[in-house]
Amino acid sequence: MPQTGSQDNGSPLRTEFDFELPHGYVDAAGTVHRRGAMRLATARDELSPLIDQRVRENPAYLGVVLLSLVITRLGTVTDIHAGVVEGLFATDLAYLQDFYRRINGLDTGHGAVACPSCGTSFAVPGAVAGERLGEA
């Protein structure tokens, strides 16, 4: 089993990426948090929230839980839970969803599109890879 996070030549693989939110998360005290970091996601990150009651009732909530798992830092916020992600501005949520797609090598389709009226960016769903795995 290869060791995730290291290569044979000793140079570490990058598994965490810095980001800066377009708007920023405003906490209860009114402090704005814009800079943060997101780690690469795993199958566990996407499968484990499926037993969460909130995700079972609303599959769209998976994206919220997932982001709360992979965001490792957000300003000085100490506990990044699903409620924090829910409290983000739509612009920031779309930014983070696109950021997730990019660092995890997912098809971003045509990337994000911005509303010509309000400037809010929306992620365009990419095509689901449909190729079959090789036969044994």
């Binding site: 598994t15 566990r44 044994a136």
Partner: protein, 55 residues
């Protein structure tokens, strides 16, 4: 934004079947690394199917 759960399980099962790696280890692979190993196995299988042997 997410992978279809069935696709994730298919990829994990594919690697487990061929390489016999542990379930927890497979779940811990980043998406990119998991997909890379799926491609490696597919390459091996293709080579075997074409009678070229594993690379």
């Amino acid at each position: 934004m997410t992978h279809p759960a069935q696709r994730l399980r298919e990829e994990v099962a594919y690697i487990a079947y061929h390489f016999h790696w542990g379930y927890a280890d497979l779940l811990s692979l980043t998406h990119g690394e998991r997909r890379a190993w799926v491609r490696e196995i597919a390459g091996i299988n293709t080579a075997l199917a074409e009678g070229r042997g594993a690379r």
